[in-house]
């Protein structure tokens, strides 16, 4: 199932505790999966089994990106499933070192 992603879109996993928020997204429709199942809107209900082949896990606070970093997703709650976009696993983006300004 492909959905439109835009900054601020929140999604949750159907098969684990994972929750995410889209930080940035290029225009278009994407299939976003976690743990082998399509991700859901925050108010949707879903059930299913975690695919053991897609169980690398997500970590709270980490940013996940596709190869060209046109899509960036923030994990707001960690879980057991791995994030996959259009069939390709998302990678953890290296944290930026920013001076604290406030």
């Amino acid at each position: 199932m492909a959905i439109t992603l835009k900054a601020g879109t929140r999604l949750k996993s159907a098969v684990c505790e994972t929750q995410v928020m889209v930080i940035k997204a290029a225009a278009g429709e994407y299939a976003v999966q976690c743990g082998g199942a399509a991700m859901l809107a925050p108010n949707e209900d879903g059930a299913g089994e975690l695919d053991p082949a897609q169980a690398g896990g997500t970590l709270i606070g980490k940013r996940y990106v596709n190869a060209d970093e046109s899509i960036e997703i923030l994990c707001t709650k960690g879980g057991k499933g791995s994030l996959v976009l259009d069939g390709v696993p998302l990678e953890v983006k290296q944290a930026k070192q920013l001076p604290s300004s406030d």
């Binding site: 900054a7 923030l74 707001t76 300004s101 406030d102």
Partner: protein
């Protein structure tokens, strides 16, 4: 999309870590969330549209920021230094509302229908509330998170609107989640009604960095608190840093703060001599200059620690002058300088500063959005960029004196007046003039025990600049009026000058 997510992430990850300290009191992230959710239930039950705060810094401020987000209402911190009449006026603008007040502020406004008053201690006690089930968060990114009344130095306070999408873009764009170590702590001395007070809570909570709250700013107390709480980071407005520097120089003392690693400053013009002294006194500490506005959800440009060190040690005047810049645009926004007609200017050309990005709200209650069709916000600050993108500010557009069609910046005249050995402080303002439309006037504070004739200062300006810059009236004062964050109140100075009738003949 909701800024309460920031607290949820911190409380889920580090429930027992200390979130904030204020005097002898401390809150863990878990306690902070329990209290915020309890307050949110109270606000919802009261049917309020706003959650206001009239108080100095205390744990009630962060509790209220997140409680408003959980409850789906806007948080509206009010300036506790306003008069009762001014406070009543603001309260009328935000009713129906709940208002949290500290003990010394409870009697400073009138009771009214549609206003539910909560004492600060009642809010603090909510940490022991039974935390039933998690509230369902409002997801509308356009919902208003914060309503901030601007200082009103030029007139009636405007209410700047900051939406959840603005604030969350700012945080996610500039802070890494849980970037702080458990022993890290930031000293927060700015009052809760200032944008820096709001962004400090959001940034620190997202970084999971302990906040040490100071009720009021005092140099000695600030140094003592930094020492006692082993503070690693601090944010100060320039006047606060000036006072710390003056205190240390007067006492011929070193800061003696082994744990302090970084000082960020912003919120006004930093005198070059102050930052240079501060860098000498706080040897080894990282300094960051942050430029931002209420309407831009805080910081849009940053001069980082390495840039400070490079500038102060450089022989190259182009690099050295960067210490007087506010740095470059953060990765989260773009900055442009334009002329009066709206055309983008090349480097080194003085014009009006514009900012664009998702964190930029540029919106006021009742006035609506001030963004142009391209999404750019006119900051009303004047400045120029250099070829490397460093931004140099030159005062507010509203303070520019238009004398016979010529634009005159108060800053350049003030800088010249301040070079006179007897001048301690100076502010230049416009006064009405029949012939020129506006004319230049100055208020000057002399150093103790000195005397200078008006003519001598006028000659100094004529010599360094040109005759159109010469103040035609100079009012000598024992001190200049400032607001509590160190912004000089030009409106008050204009009134003073008009009242004394200190108007010479046109020069």
């Amino acid at each position: 999309m909701n800024i309460a997510m920031i607290l949820d992430m911190a409380a889920d990850s580090f429930p027992e870590r200390t979130a904030l300290q204020c005097g002898d009191d401390r809150f863990s992230y878990s306690e902070l969330r329990v209290a915020a959710r309890a307050l949110a239930r109270h606000v919802r039950a009261a049917g309020a549209a706003h959650l206001a705060l009239l108080d100095v810094n205390s744990p009630a401020a962060p509790i209220a920021i997140f409680a408003a987000a959980y409850a789906g209402v806007a948080y509206a911190p009010l300036n506790y230094r306003l008069t009762p009449e001014e406070i009543n006026e603001l309260v009328a603008r935000i009713a129906p509302a709940c208002i949290i007040a500290g003990p010394e502020h409870l009697a400073r406004f009138d009771g009214r229908d549609e206003l539910s008053v909560i004492a600060r201690d009642t809010v603090l006690a909510m940490r022991t509330a039974s935390d039933a089930e998690a509230p369902s968060l409002g997801e509308d990114p356009r919902a208003v998170a914060v309503l901030l009344f601007t200082s009103g130095t030029t007139g009636k306070p405007k209410a700047a609107i900051l939406r959840h999408e603005n604030l969350l873009s700012y945080i996610v764009g500039t802070v890494e989640f849980a970037a702080a170590d458990e022993q890290d702590a930031i000293a927060v001395a700015v009052p809760p009604y200032h944008i820096a007070g709001i962004s400090a809570v959001l940034s620190s909570t997202y970084a999971c960095r302990r906040m040490v709250q100071l009720e009021n700013f005092d140099a000695a107390a600030w140094l003592a608190a930094c020492r006692e709480h082993r503070v690693s980071n601090a944010f100060l407005v320039p006047t606060m840093l000036s006072r710390v520097v003056e205190y240390l120089l007067a006492a011929d003392a070193r800061p003696d703060l082994g744990s302090l690693r970084a000082i960020a400053y912003g919120g006004g013009k930093m005198p070059q001599s102050t930052i240079e002294s501060a860098m000498r006194l706080f040897d080894g500490v990282d300094f960051t200059n942050a430029y931002g506005l209420t309407e831009t959800s805080s910081t849009v440009a940053v001069l980082g620690p390495d840039e400070h060190r490079m500038a102060i040690t450089s022989e190259d005047p182009q690099v050295r002058r960067r210490l007087s810049s506010v740095g470059r645009a953060t990765g989260a926004v773009e900055i442009q300088v334009r002329d009066e007609a709206g055309v983008e200017l090349p480097p080194e050309s003085l014009g009006l500063v514009f900012v664009r990005g998702p964190q930029v709200s540029g919106e006021y209650d009742s006035l609506g959005s001030q963004l142009d069709s391209g999404g750019w916000f006119p900051t009303r600050d004047r400045g120029y960029l250099d070829a490397d993108g460093y931004l140099y500010l030159d005062g507010r557009a509203d303070d520019v004196i238009v004398r016979g069609g010529e634009n005159i910046s108060p800053g350049e005249i003030e800088d010249v007046l301040l070079t006179h050995p007897a001048v301690a402080d100076a502010a230049v303002v416009a006064i009405p003039d029949e012939q020129w439309g506006e004319a230049v006037a100055a208020a000057v504070v002399l150093k103790p025990g000195t005397r200078v004739a008006e003519q001598e200062l006028q000659d100094l300006v004529r010599e360094r600049l040109r005759s159109s810059r010469v103040p035609q009236a100079i009012l000598f004062k024992s001190e200049l009026p400032y607001n509590d964050l160190g912004k000089v109140l030009r409106r008050v100075i204009r009134q003073d000058i008009a009242r004394t009738g200190a108007l010479g003949a046109a020069i």
